[in-house]
Each structure stands twice: as C-alpha cells, then as structure tokens.
C-alpha cells in the first residue's frame, strides 16, 4: 500500500515535470510523417509509418526512462524531502520500489497514448485493417520491457551517483546492451580460454537490451511493420528475463540505498 502511495506520487511528480510534452512532439511527428512520406518515399508508406512510430516510441521512452530515472532518488536527496518520508514508517526498499513503479506507470501511460496515436495515423491512411494494428501490441510490449530494464539501470545509478554520471553510465550500458552478442564473438576470435570465460560472464551480467529488439533472430519493429506474428513463447522468455533482471537490479538498488548514511 505504501509502495503504491509512493508510486502514485512519483507519477504525479513526473507529470508535473511536463513529461507528457513529448507526446505533442510525437503527435506532430506522426501527422507530419503521414503527409510527407508520400513525397519522400516510393511505396512502403505504411511500413515507414510503423517503423517511425515504434522507433519513436522506443527512443522517447528510453530518453524518459534515463533522464527521469536518474533524477528520481537524487532529487529527493537534494531537496531533502527524503528525510520527511523516511522518518515515517516506510522501508527504504519500499521507497525504491515505489519510485520505480511510479516511473513505470508514467512510461505505460506514454506508451499507450503513443501507440494509440500510431494506430490513428494508420487508420487515417485507411489502408490498414484494425486486425493488423493488433499485431503492434507484442512489439509495443517488448519495447515496454526494454524501458523497464533501462529504468531499473538508471535507478540503480541514481541511488549512489550524480545525475550527470548516472545518465552517462545508463546510456553506456544501454548501448553496450545492444552489442552483447559481439562479446561472445570476440571471445571466440581471441581463442583464449580466459577471455572466453570473462566474456561469458559479462554476456550474462550485462543487460541484454537486444533481447527485446530481436526475437527469434527477427527485428521486433520490422516484424510489426510487415505484420508478421511474434511467437508468444519468445515474448514470454523476454518477460521472464526482464522480470528477473529488474528484480536483481532493484534488490541491489534497495541494498545500496539502505546502506546510505543520510546526514
């Protein structure tokens, strides 16, 4: 219950940060694209709109996850509002979990509105049946999972570092998360047992963001653009990965935050 109260407050706080302005930008992007693409590309207009829409949802979401995520805890410390909160019978882990869920809820609201905007744009063009719009749902869900993971990473750094450094670390990890497979490839080319061992560990330790971009060796956004089905089992495994990874990150964040000495 207390977690939900903190989550609700975090959501209100992010809304007060005028975070939903990005939706206006997204709407403009969608409207412009539906008019301009006909001039720029020959054929594939619907595919380009889906590509652009889903990629924007993912990029905007990632930016929000990083830049709001890194400030969540830091801001409370800076403004000293955390003292008032922690003086109450609230566990520190509850505080962390509440913050995390609050931002996640903001991201869900964003995602739903943007996805609706994308569907409306497609519907406005009139060539796409509603049935195929449903095919966007798994892709949007996988984007949400990747955002949940990015938020957890940002929150972890936010618990012990400054916002600027946290943003940098999170961004780096996010980029590295797209190249995890290359780590294994690298280890294989070195033919060194030690390098292979270290790479193997790093492969599992580092967040594998590409798990949510590539499913069954197909790009998720492209599958949605070509209206190809995404297997439920693949989505299931991605969910399992995200839940486990985020849980571990949140546990570490809560531990780090619990050990902090507030003066």
């Amino acid at each position: 219950m207390r977690v939900l109260a903190i989550a609700g407050n975090t959501f209100r706080e992010t809304i007060r940060d005028k975070i939903l302005y990005n939706l206006i930008l997204f709407a403009l992007l969608m409207i412009l694209s539906s008019f301009v693409l006909g001039q720029l590309t020959l054929g594939y207009e619907d595919k380009v709109i889906v590509d652009l829409g889903l990629s924007s949802i993912s990029i905007f979401g990632t930016l929000i996850a990083i830049f709001i995520g890194i400030g969540l805890v830091y801001k409370e410390l800076e403004r000293r509002t955390v003292y008032a909160l922690l003086a109450k019978p609230v566990h520190r882990w509850e505080f962390i979990l509440g913050k995390y869920l609050g931002l996640l809820f903001t991201l869900v609201v964003n995602l739903v509105i943007m996805a609706a905007g994308l569907v409306l744009t497609l519907a406005y063009r009139g060539d796409v049946p509603l049935q195929s719009c449903l095919r966007l749902i798994p892709a949007v869900y996988l984007i949400f999972l990747s955002l949940a993971l990015t938020t957890a990473v940002a929150l972890l750094f936010s618990a012990f570092s400054t916002p600027a450094l946290s943003a940098l670390f999170t961004l780096f990890l996010w980029i590295i998360g797209h190249f995890n497979a290359d780590l294994l490839q690298f280890a294989r080319t070195t033919k060194s047992a030690a390098a292979e061992f270290v790479s193997g560990i790093l492969y599992y330790v580092l967040p594998n963001i590409s798990n949510f971009n590539m499913v069954d060796s197909r790009n998720v956004i492209q599958s949605a653009a070509y209206q190809e089905p995404i297997h439920a089992s693949a989505v299931g495994w991605a969910t399992v990965y995200a839940v486990l990874y985020c849980s571990i990150l949140l546990a570490i964040t809560a531990t780090v935050f619990s050990r902090r000495d507030f003066k």
Binding site: Y44, V48, D51, S55, S58, M214, N219, Q222
Partner: protein
C-alpha cells in the same frame, strides 16, 4: 536593492552593437579561411558509412527505421537528376546505398526490383552498372528465394542490358519453377533460350514491367522504352518505304503522305505522343519532331536493322505472292 545588468542604458546597446560587429567579423574570417581551402579537392559525393554491416551495428536495433531512411536517401540520390549530372560519377554511391537498405531490411522487395533498374539503365537514366544490378538481385534471390519476380528481373537484366540471352532464359526458367510464378514465364524462358535479341521480346518484357509494377517510376521508364521501340519501328518502316519509293519513282517523295498515295502505306504513322514525324526530303531522314512529347531512349543498333530485315522479308513475300 534591485540588480541592474548595466550601469548606463547605452551600455546595453553598445554590447548589442559589439556582438553584431563580432558576428560580421566571424563571417569575414570564415570566408577568408574558406577562400584558402581548395574545395574542388573535396568530393561532395561522400557516403560516410558505406559498409552495410557497420550501419546495421550502429542502428542499435532500429534497423527498419534506418533502412527506410537509407531507402529515401537512395531515391533522392537517384531522383535528383540535375545534382547527379554535376557529380564526378553520376551514381557512384547508389550500389552501396541499396546494399545498406537490403542488409538492414532484406524484405523490401521493391528495393531489389526498382534498384536493379536504377542500376542497370545506361547513363544518364541510370548508373549503367548492370553487373551491380545483378549483384543486388542475386542477394535478393539468396535472401528471398521464393520471390519469382526477383528471378524474372535477373533475366530482364541479362536479356536487355547484358544481351546474355542464354542466362536470361535460365533465370526465367528458374523463375517459372518457383511456386506462384505466372504461366507465361515458361514461354518467356523458352523464347530467351531459343533465340533472343529480337524486338518483340524486348517489347514484351517492357510491357510486363509496365503492367506488373506498382511503382510509378518503373512504369514511366517502361512506358518510355515502349514508346522508343515504337518510334524505332515507325522510323525504320518509313525509311524502308522511302527507299522503295525512290527505287520505283526515281526520286524521294516530297512529303510522307506520298507513300500512302503510292500504296506503300495505309496511313502515315504518328509518334506515340500523337505528333507527326519530321521528314527532310533533301536528305531522306525521318526524325522525331521537336514538338514530340516522347522521351526517346537510344535503342540498340540491331533493333532498326532487325525491323528493316523483317520488313524486307514480308515485303518480298507479299510482292512475290502478287506476282
């Protein structure tokens, strides 16, 4: 005490003026620096990332979006004819652009199909690189083996641009074996394998492009080719009968209508845009009128010769029947 930025009001204006002067000086300085650079050494036609694998890695999972961007770039790169004419090599980066698009998104069938025509068409219409066109199509066939149109296009490039009729026939034969291929593909394959190089097959192929493509630019190109074949046929026919007229009447006719009056033709043909052909009675040359709206594309030399040979055969057969 209120904070005032400047102790005197005119100080503010002085600062604005100083900024403007500095901005003007910066411009002058930049122009001076530019004047010392030899811009002609810099190739403006640069593709910063030409490796498809590098672009794919840098796309960070947004492969579809980046593929779309590169496809639009390729279209703009190809479509801006004036700019292309100013480049050192007209379409140097076109193969790389299309390679990047198809690596990022191998499913964009139109990229192989339209791209191969952009590449294979001789300059100035295209890059004049039929081998690059084939490379693109072979890549498409290896990634999308069940798409018969890609194999049909391979045959198209072999037949019309490389004049390799046997390979064209083989490509069409392979296309005919793919599920969903239209029944006419087998006939086309047989034709390509048996003879090749004749005007009727070329006309047939362009008509297939015109009817089969959903793309306006590909259809336009096909329409221009069909019109050009028609022009070649008309001019060859007129020239053939002008020769016959001169042989029987001892002199070239004053006007093309004389051919009708002499019974060689039913009517004087108009060009595909409906404008009469221009005839110079002094030289005997028939050309497209300057008022014509046909975008004439140079056809292979053998076309006119083949048309005239066919006419000669028909004419001899007809006259011998009359006799």
């Amino acid at each position: 005490m209120s904070m005032r930025p400047f102790s005197r009001p005119w100080h503010g204006w002085l600062l604005v003026a100083a900024c403007l002067a500095a901005a003007w000086l910066i411009r002058t300085a930049q122009d001076q620096i530019d004047a010392r650079q030899n811009r002609s050494l810099v190739d403006p036609d640069v593709l910063y990332f030409s490796s498809p694998r590098a672009v794919k890695a840098l796309a960070l999972g947004y492969d579809g979006l980046i593929a779309d961007v590169y496809w639009m770039r390729a279209i703009q790169y190809y479509g801006r004819r004036d700019e292309a004419a100013r480049r050192q090599v007209r379409y140097k980066n076109l193969p790389a652009l299309l390679d990047i698009v198809t690596t990022l998104d191998p499913r964009m069938l139109d990229v192989y199909r339209a791209g191969s025509i952009f590449l294979a068409e001789p300059e100035p219409l295209g890059a004049g690189e039929p081998l690059e066109a084939l490379r693109l199509l072979y890549k498409g066939v290896s990634l999308r083996p069940l798409e018969w149109p890609l194999r049909f296009d391979q045959g198209f490039v072999y037949y019309l641009y490389l004049k390799d009729y046997r390979r064209a026939g083989q490509a069409w034969l392979e296309a005919s074996r793919v599920e969903g291929a239209p029944p006419w593909m087998e006939g086309l394959a047989a034709h390509g394998l048996s003879q090749g190089g004749d005007v009727e097959t070329a006309r047939y192929l362009w008509r297939r492009q015109l009817e089969g493509s959903a793309r306006a630019d590909v259809r336009d190109n096909a329409r221009n080719h069909l019109a050009s074949i028609q022009v070649d046929e008309d001019i060859s026919t007129l020239e053939f009968f002008l020769d016959k007229y001169a042989a029987t009447h001892g002199a070239a006719p004053a006007r093309l209508e004389d051919l009708v009056r002499a019974g060689f033709l039913d009517h004087v043909p108009l060009d595909p845009s409906g404008v009469p052909y221009q005839y110079n009675s002094a030289t005997g040359a028939v050309t497209l009128s300057s008022a014509s709206r046909v975008r004439y594309l140079e056809m292979p030399d053998n076309y006119r010769k083949t048309i005239k040979d066919n006419l000669a055969r028909t004419f001899t057969a007809k006259t011998s029947r009359h006799q």
